[in-house]
């Protein structure tokens, strides 16, 4: 018998098409998984409404789940709103591995955006808008590299 946990395990292998080191489950995109004998329903949360990768993510999720049940329905929902607080520690590590600094952490936790190259916290935001809706452009005053940051959304 396939359980929701099995489905989530299969979905952990689905990567964000624009951040290939990062699993969509670590990014907190998978909201709800409902499993019956013949059907799997998966609710996903768009990180940003204008994300051009949504259709690709939906297709990849359908493919990942299609071996587990005869019928798979994948949809994007607006509630709850996705926030960057949904990223787990693995997502933060895999973002860094791709050269993207993680978003500002929840209030009460460490707050500096560190450079993914040299680890310095002497970084500044150059622009809130980057190459994709979920990224910002930052600059490291220590190693003097521009880098991308994952946008804080909350």
């Amino acid at each position: 018998m396939v359980t929701a946990a099995h489905v989530r395990e299969a979905l952990a292998a689905v990567k964000d098409p624009e951040i290939p080191t990062c699993s969509i489950t670590d990014l907190g995109i998978v909201h709800d998984v409902r499993v019956t004998a013949e059907r799997i329903e998966i609710d996903l949360l768009p990180t940003f409404a204008g994300c051009p990768a949504l259709d690709v993510i939906k297709r990849d999720v359908e493919q990942a789940a299609c071996d587990l049940a005869p019928e798979v329905e994948v949809r994007f929902v607006n509630a709850p709103p996705w926030t960057s607080d949904r990223l787990n520690d693995d997502a933060n590590d895999s973002l860094k591995a791709f050269g993207i600094s993680p978003p500002l952490l929840q209030i009460g936790r460490a707050h500096n955006v560190t450079c993914p190259y040299c680890g310095s916290d002497q970084t500044v935001e150059e622009s809130a808008f980057g190459p994709t809706p979920c990224r910002t452009v930052r600059y490291c005053n220590s190693c003097r590299n521009p880098f991308e940051g994952f946008k804080t959304k909350r």
């Binding site: 409404a49 607006n78 996705w82 150059e126 622009s127 809130a128 808008f129 809706p133």
Partner: protein, 277 residues
């Protein structure tokens, strides 16, 4: 009789769609790369928000979201005419951006309490993204208002040109009384307008641009004369403005700038109905 929720959704979605389309015209032409990314990203967000709203409308209306976005006749669009105005120059684009995004913020905050669940959920998502648009607009507002003199002069002129049309973002909606009585609109467009005016009025005062509001509709003559402190005494632009000039969009009446925009925006859809990629 049509569902009163449709008039609200068409107004909100069409503002975002048409302004998003206009902003996308800047892609590749902005004075520097970071700002090119910013305006292009904002355009992308606005069009995505239009899609969210049209997805909701689609359930009520029966047409699919693409048909709603691109398959309507020009007279069926309900955007405020501010949104369809040509970008003109960077000053006008940023003046419109600032006026519009404060107006959008006021109405979205009000709609957080709407009795219309699907809309309330979409609004919660939109607000998290619009926050960055507002910060961007405010940063440019302060930067340009601070001068140098030519920048301040042109920005003040652009604000004066846009303010009358921006007020028409709060034109009453069809069936507004029904929308209010059903709690779909927790507050009406008149209250939104007052809140917006108080908010932008305070900011205009702070930078010495209060004449953008106070001289509205009063026939004055004279040239834009920056003083030694960069203050602007009076402008012909302000004098030419008529308060009601920006109205009509919510009834499907548009300026001469709408049809060329519509022709371009819908070219592919009309040439290849149902095209997908």
């Amino acid at each position: 009789m049509s569902d009163p929720r449709a008039s609200l959704l068409f107004a909100l979605a069409d503002d975002e769609l048409i302004l998003g389309h206009r902003l996308s015209e800047w892609t590749g032409w902005v004075p520097y790369i970071e700002e090119d990314l910013a305006l292009s990203s904002i355009a992308q967000d606005e069009i995505a928000h239009a899609r969210m709203l049209l997805d909701i409308l689609s359930v009520i209306d029966g047409r699919d979201p693409d048909a709603l976005a691109l398959g309507r006749a020009p007279g069926e669009y309900r955007n405020a005419i501010l949104c369809e105005q040509p970008n003109t120059d960077f000053a006008f684009t940023l003046a419109r951006h600032w006026l519009y995004d404060h107006a959008d913020d006021v109405r979205l905050r009000a709609l957080q309490e709407s009795s219309f669940k699907e809309l309330r959920e979409a609004v919660a998502v939109m607000l998290l993204e619009e926050r960055y648009h507002l910060e961007h607009a405010d940063a440019w507002f302060r930067r340009l208002a601070d001068g140098p003199v030519d920048a301040r002069h042109r920005f003040g002129e652009a604000l004066a040109n846009a303010i009358g049309m921006a007020e028409a973002l709060f034109e009453p909606l069809d069936d507004e009384s029904v929308l209010v009585s059903e709690g779909i609109l927790p507050t009406g467009t008149e209250e939104w307008h007052d809140e917006w005016l108080a908010r932008i009025g305070g900011m205009l005062d702070e930078v010495g641009f209060d004449q953008v509001l106070t001289s509205q509709g009063e026939p004055e003559t004279g040239e834009m004369v920056p003083t030694s402190t960069g203050e602007i005494e009076s402008t012909e632009q302000i004098a030419r403005r008529v308060p009601s000039s920006g109205a009509g969009g919510r009834r499907g009446e548009h300026s001469e700038h709408f049809e060329p925009l519509w022709l371009e925006m819908t070219t592919l859809y009309r040439a290849h109905p149902g095209a997908r990629w």
